[in-house]
């Protein structure tokens, strides 16, 4: 036979496969990992899916343990609807880096989704916010005659901050 076999040499073919394999490994565990890990991990939340905004904040004028002590209106500015908006643990309030906990009342329009443009009403029946630290445990009361930095953490990793000024 005089016809030559058409194709790449084994060395070239193996080199190509090796290069591709090394690239894949680098993408998964190497220095490029951070760029692709979110794509690989799929459902891992790496950034907030939507912007939320505090529209209003009501604070009681004294320490309070019942009724409406804190009330917040939080709007979803989009671009995506937020699921699990009425689920356990979806909303958490932190004031001046003290933990105020989750609201006792959540109104997201009767369903479990905060649509784009929709406003969630959140109420707390207690305005004591705490840090547990053994003998260093401390707390504040979020009352209306002081300034605070207010942070609200919402569903699906959303977050917004607001500076409250009295009056």
């Amino acid at each position: 036979m005089t016809g030559r076999r058409c194709g790449l040499t084994r060395v070239v073919a193996e080199t190509l496969v090796l290069v591709i394999a090394v690239m894949i490994i680098l993408l998964i565990i190497g220095p490029l990992n951070s760029y692709v890990s979110s794509a690989i991990s799929g459902s891992v939340i790496t950034a907030s899916p939507s912007d939320i905004e505090i529209l209003s904040l009501y604070l009681a004028d004294s320490p309070c343990t019942s009724g409406v002590c804190i009330e917040l209106a939080v709007k979803n500015n989009g671009p995506l609807s937020l699921r699990n908006a009425d689920r356990w643990g979806s909303w958490v309030l932190i004031i001046d880096d003290y933990y105020c906990g989750e609201p006792d009342y959540v109104d997201v329009g009767g369903d479990d989704t905060l649509d784009v443009g929709e406003v969630a009403k959140l109420r707390w029946s207690d305005n004591q916010c705490t840090r547990y630290a053994g003998s260093y445990t401390s707390s504040i009361y979020a009352i209306r005659d002081r300034s605070y930095v207010v942070k609200v953490f919402g569903p699906e990793g959303t977050f917004t901050a607001y500076t409250y000024f009295p009056g």
Binding site: M1, T2, R4, R5, C6, G7, L8, T9, R10, V11, V12, A13, L16, V17, I20, I24, I28, I29, N33, V36, S37, A39, I40, S41, G42, S43, V44, I45, T46, R87, W88, G89, S90, V92, I94, D97, Y98, Y99, G101, E102, R131, Y132, A133, G134, S135, Y136, T137, S138, K151, F153, E156, G157, F159
Partner: protein, 166 residues
């Protein structure tokens, strides 16, 4: 004439095409869940994202500074071993402040779980919120205007938070 040694061009191109398709499926297609599970199991990708929510300096002694940081598990998976009790938590988490190692003292569950049986284990279920309390020796973390806190947990989870000093 000697035959050229090697696999044919068609075979090589088919193999490369196959690899590309498999990678594409693993990244964006129906294999995403599988690759996520595999990479999580192998520890290549953290099983969950943590959200540091706040924190501060809780107190100070002559030798140490005491801090707290609130951390939420955004999911999708549980962090830590649910079969261990919460006494194992300090040994499973590491905290560094301004690059110096600190000691995890306690972790309080601030967002209580709906299932009480999950309250006392060493795992952080999705949407559970813990308050980490930790102590840093002043010899390595002197009082400062700013404390950069890095919290590392099981399976590669991590959270960062900057505390403004007093």
């Amino acid at each position: 004439m000697r035959m050229r040694s090697g696999i044919s061009r068609v075979a090589v191109e088919a193999a490369i095409l196959l690899i590309i398709i498999v990678v594409a499926i693993m990244l964006v297609g129906p294999g995403k869940a599988l690759s996520s599970a595999v990479t999580s199991r192998l520890g290549l990708v953290a099983p969950a994202n943590l959200q540091a929510m706040g924190g501060g300096v809780a107190g100070e002694s002559s030798t140490s500074i005491y801090f707290v940081v609130f951390v939420r598990n955004l999911g999708p998976n549980t962090v830590g071993d649910p079969n261990l009790d919460d006494s194992y938590i300090p040994s499973m988490w590491e905290v560094y402040v301004n690059g110096a190692s600190c000691v995890v003292r306690v972790s309080y569950i601030r967002q209580h779980n709906q299932d009480p049986s999950l309250e006392d284990n060493a795992a952080m279920e999705p949407y559970e919120i813990w308050e980490f309390g930790f102590r840093c020796p002043k010899s390595s973390v002197p009082p400062a205007q700013e404390y950069k806190v890095a919290i590392y947990g099981p399976s590669g989870v991590r959270a960062y938070y900057t505390i403004e000093g007093g």
